[in-house]
């Protein structure tokens, strides 16, 4: 399915391979310097500065470094990476190639969501064409020593494999479970070697930055959240689809643009994100306020917030990898709490206990999945307490 506004994305306006051409004659530190100067933060949602990540991997010692593209787009309500891979895969591969030059890696891997298997022929065709055009392979663009190639690796459907260390475990053929950090992948990643894992969109923007310059990118957005960002908008709105907005946009402005001005609440950041109620619609979407990988799910006035919380909790009970105690068992307890609320059988004191358990999960879980899994529950309990406590036994 092709999103109706995809053609309006900035990506469409970029001269193909202009970024790669610029990077081909730059030193590694100049490339990383340009990315760092743009102040771009990772588009997957965690918001780690991309230039810093590349710099750490470039400085790390290893025999074979790796560039990994996280295309395991599994967050509920997000589909912008699919659109990028359909319409702008060249830009993603170009960004990966630039990253390879920057960190000193000759191998790129796209970890593609299992459900996106149908994209494989399309992506393989583009990779083959790029090899023919000497944009991949040995001596890229005729530059001796600039070697880089990309292969695809299929995921198998586990949400947790979007977490970078679980993704690496999965790449290595193991059960997809997050590792202890530190050490971080930039030092000890795939096969124990320095590895950068970046989101699909991050690589595409990196290619744009190399083409149009850090100043262009930095001029858009806020001081702490620079540049443009793609959003996957779904739910109770008139115009669902993929949108591009500058970082720092208010929730209200975004909702107006998609035909959802009268929303009751909006889930920003997917299942692991936060549920923002109408009174908070003047907050901004930016790393310093509401960070997101781009999933926007709109809830209209008629929606039952407890049902929404149940939906998210069922998702996490299903998708927890089962490794650490707070996430494996905590999510089950939160879901059971929702069932008690539905039957009007949850006391205020037990609800407080569950909120405190949610805080423990945020603090003590091993990876980002468990740390963010109670977010939706906690924000719905906080913002809609009267509605959810109002059930009769």
């Amino acid at each position: 399915m092709k999103a109706k506004n995809a053609s309006k994305l900035t990506f469409s306006t970029i001269t193909p391979n202009a970024g790669l051409t610029a990077a081909a004659d730059k030193s590694r530190s100049d490339i990383i310097g340009e990315i760092s100067a743009s102040k771009m933060k990772g588009r997957g949602g965690a918001g780690f500065p991309t230039g810093t990540k590349w710099n750490l991997a470039a400085a790390a010692r290893g025999n074979q470094k790796y560039v990994v593209c996280n295309a395991d787009e599994g967050e509920p309500g997000t589909f912008k990476d699919r659109v990028i891979l359909l319409d702008h895969a060249d830009l993603v591969f170009e960004g990966m190639t630039i990253a390879g030059k920057a960190i000193g890696s000759s191998i790129g891997i796209v970890y593609l969501r299992g459900e996106y298997t149908y994209l494989v022929p399309h992506l393989e065709a583009i990779l083959a064409r790029r090899r023919e055009e000497k944009l991949l392979g040995k001596s890229i663009m005729g530059r001796n020593g600039f070697d880089f190639d990309i292969h695809l690796h299929m995921g198998s459907g586990a949400y947790v494999c979007g977490e970078e260390t679980a993704l690496i475990e999965s790449l290595e053929g193991h059960r997809g479970e997050p590792r202890n950090r530190p050490p971080y992948p930039v030092d000890t990643g795939y096969m124990g070697e320095p590895t950068i894992v970046n989101n699909v969109e991050t690589f595409a923007w990196a290619a744009c930055i190399m083409s149009k310059g850090a100043d262009w990118f930095k001029a858009i957005g806020t001081d702490k959240s620079t540049g443009l960002k793609l959003f996957s908008v779904s739910g109770d709105c008139a115009y669902p689809g993929v949108y591009e907005f500058p970082m720092g946009i208010t929730v209200r402005k975004l909702l107006e643009s998609v035909g959802a001005a009268d929303a009751k609440a909006v889930q920003i950041g997917g299942a692991s994100g936060h549920c923002i109620p109408a009174p908070e619609f003047d907050r901004t979407i930016a790393y310093e306020d509401i960070a997101t990988g781009g999933s926007i799910i709109v809830f209209g006035q008629g929606r039952d917030m407890l049902q929404i919380a149940r939906n998210f909790m069922e998702f996490f009970v299903e998708e927890s990898c089962g490794q650490c105690t707070p996430c494996r068992d905590g999510n089950v307890k939160l879901l059971e709490g929702i069932e008690m609320l539905e039957m009007g059988e949850c006391s205020m004191s037990y609800l407080r206990e569950l909120e405190s358990l949610g805080e423990t999960m945020q603090l003590a879980s091993k990876c980002g999945l468990g740390q963010s899994s109670p977010n939706a529950f906690l924000s719905i309990v906080k913002n809609f307490k009267e509605e959810i406590m109002g059930r009769l036994p």
């Binding site: 530190p182 050490p183 068992d329 879980s365």
Partner: protein, 642 residues
């Protein structure tokens, strides 16, 4: 375990996340010190030290559950979380290497709340009553619940079991209703033992520890070493306990119940009675066994000496056939066969090397065969009325005594294998305070044992015992003249893989015992005897792979393999907990006992001389000894039939 970094260890099958941590080191930072403040106590530690180790070094206790000293880091239970300055979330102290000056707080409100929640969550999935659990009063979950003042089941407690108990194995019973998913068993099996029978399957709350295709443990490639039992924090894994049957035999007046005691339990059983590790209770235990009602108490060391003679002579015969007769069918190096965990390991993983395995039975099984033949004749007892119990540090011995081929006496040679833990329970049940008992000797006719038998309990011990006898038999020189006090130090110690050489510079006359087999030892003159020693099957794998690749161990003549870390003293039937320090203390007790013996060489044991004069009249490796004291093996392979 090993400190090799994940990057270098191409050998391990364990996922990188489960291998020992690789600490990122800055240029020039290697070997440096870093300061850390833990609960306002300042300490300098080597760069890369974990918060847990740093805290322990200054006496600050951080509770743990999935952490185990012998295993690589998992960081999954999250019980050890602490606050680290500058970190948004709490960090697992066991998994967090200190690489920069850091401030840590170990018991803030957030930390206490998180630990309490985690313990409550674990209890909400832990089925069973403490009263009826084999680990009552020795359970890490129970201790944590007490430590954190759990006074009610905040998040509930299961009232029904979810899983059937798997009691298919003679050695290890799995009750997954008590499993807290710490994965110590998984790490033990894969990372420490390189077997890999257990793995986590399914996701989220459905996660559980599973065998291949959920088959019963008896049907998979489990080697029965029981190391998983020793590291399970709860009662989810336990040994298959025959104490009720043993009591029934004792209570039956028509049965003559004999117990043989191996060297390792006596060095460790005190731990079950509150003593520090390393206090041997050999002769107190003899008294206790008599009080329990056993008719005879024998020392397995007697058949350890017999094993040395049979296995040592087998080695000399192999060497002669290979070196003198140039017989190409002879397999060298010869492997020891007394560790039943190792035997099952090689049957599964290297069946093509079974011809290298000594055909000599283990001391336990030799004893059973001798008791139900020689001893029965001597005392005019019908062997069907004899019940042979073996006190072993081992869970694999339970499987071994149930092998169908172990019936050469015409009966089941050994009826029951009892572990140190199970005997401690029997002694307690009999109301006996073991450490306070008086001492009693072993019973005759097998009352004389040697120090060589005792050291079978430690890694390198079988090799040392064999060398003491082989050197004297071949060279005619007293071993004390080569190694001070007959302590063959090069084969001792806890290093995972050891190698030693000994040049034979003189040969002596063939002793009477072997005159039927050899005319002289001149063919050994000038030869260099090469031996290897390893313990833990992960190390066994290293040696086997070296042999396959034609490395230095392929040039060895004799290699000692023990399935368990530290040898039998670290066996799967020994008291829980275990750690490197505990195993070292037990080893010290064993070597001290060896030193105290007047006879320290197997071939000088007068009872051994006697049994070859009276019973195995044709000598070692003869027809009768082959029938009763030797066995054969089963190539099993790794592939499991449907």
């Amino acid at each position: 375990m090993s400190n090799t970094s994940a990057k270098d260890d191409k050998f391990s099958r364990a996922p990188v996340s489960q291998r020992p941590m690789v600490v990122p080191t800055q240029e020039g930072g290697i070997g440096g010190q870093v300061s850390v403040t833990i609960d306002s106590v300042d300490v300098k530690v080597p760069l890369g030290t974990t918060i847990l180790d740093a805290a322990r070094s200054i006496g600050i206790r951080i509770p743990t559950l999935c952490y185990h000293e012998d295993l690589c880091i998992a960081g999954v239970c999250r019980v050890c979380v602490v606050e680290v300055e500058g970190q948004r979330t709490l960090q697992a102290a066991c998994a967090y290497p200190i690489t920069a000056p850091t401030k840590v707080k170990t018991h803030t409100r957030k930390v206490r709340q998180a630990r309490r929640h985690i313990i409550d969550l674990l209890l909400s999935n832990h089925y069973g009553e403490c009263y009826t659990c084999s680990r009552n009063n020795n359970c890490e979950l129970q201790s944590l619940a007490k430590e954190y003042g759990v006074d009610f089941f905040r998040f509930g407690h299961p009232t029904e079991p979810r899983f059937e108990i798997d009691d298919s194995s003679h050695s290890v019973i799995r009750d997954m209703n008590k499993c807290v998913l710490c994965r110590r068993c998984v790490r033990t099996c894969i990372d420490m033992q390189e077997v890999g029978v257990l793995e986590a399957v399914y996701r989220g709350a459905d996660t559980r520890i599973c065998t291949f295709q959920d088959k019963p443990l008896a049907d998979v490639i489990c080697i029965n070493c029981g190391q998983c039992i020793n590291r399970c924090p709860t009662g989810a894994l336990r040994a298959n306990d025959p104490t009720d049957d043993v009591w029934a035999a004792i209570d039956d007046p028509t049965k003559h119940v004999i117990i043989q005691t191996a060297p390792s339990p006596r060095a460790a059983i005190g731990e079950c009675f509150g003593l520090e590790p390393g206090v041997p209770l050999t002769f107190e235990m003899n008294t206790a066994l008599k009080l329990c009602g056993f008719d005879r108490v024998f020392d397995t060391n007697f058949t350890a000496d017999l094993t040395i003679i049979e296995e040592g002579v087998e080695l000399l015969l192999r060497l002669k056939k290979a070196l003198v007769d140039k017989d190409p069918s002879i397999s060298l190096p010869q492997f020891t066969s007394c560790s039943p965990g190792w035997v099952k390991y090689i049957e599964h993983f290297y069946p093509e090397y079974l011809p290298n395995l000594s055909s000599a039975k283990s001391p336990q099984q030799m004893f059973g065969a001798v008791i139900k033949t020689y001893y029965a004749q001597m005392h005019n007892i019908d062997p069907k009325d004899i019940v042979c119990v073996a006190l072993m540090p081992c869970s694999a011995k339970k499987f071994e005594c149930n092998r169908p081929e172990m019936t050469s006496s015409g009966f089941k040679d050994i009826d029951y294998g009892l572990t140190s833990r199970e005997l401690a329970k029997m002694i307690s049940e009999a109301g006996i305070d073991l450490p306070k008992l008086h001492k009693s000797p072993f019973d005759d006719p097998f009352g004389t044992a040697t120090g060589s038998g005792v050291i079978f309990g430690a890694t390198g011990g079988v090799m040392e015992a064999a060398l003491r006898s082989v050197i004297e038999i071949v060279t005619g020189i007293r071993v004390e003249e080569i190694f001070e006090h007959a302590d063959i130090i090069p084969v001792r110690g806890f290093e995972g893989v050891k190698y030693a050489e000994l040049k034979i510079e003189k040969v002596g006359p063939v002793p009477d015992l072997l005159k039927g087999l050899f005319t002289d030892f001149n063919w050994l003159l000038g030869a260099t005897l090469k031996v290897g020693i390893c313990h833990g099957t992960a190390n066994a794998k290293k040696v086997m792979e070296d042999i396959k690749a034609g490395g230095k161990f392929s040039q060895c003549h004799f290699i000692e393999f023990m399935a368990c870390p530290g040898g039998c003293l670290g066996g799967g039937g020994q008291p829980i907990p275990t750690s490197p320090a505990i195993r070292e203390a037990r080893a010290r007790a064993i070597y001290a006992e060896d030193s105290a013996y007047t006879v320290r060489k197997s071939h000088e044991n007068p009872d051994i001389v006697k049994i070859y004069t009276e019973f195995f009249k044709e000598g070692p490796c003869s027809h009768l000894s082959h029938h009763l004291l030797h066995t054969h093996y089963t190539p099993r392979g790794k592939y499991i039939a449907e």
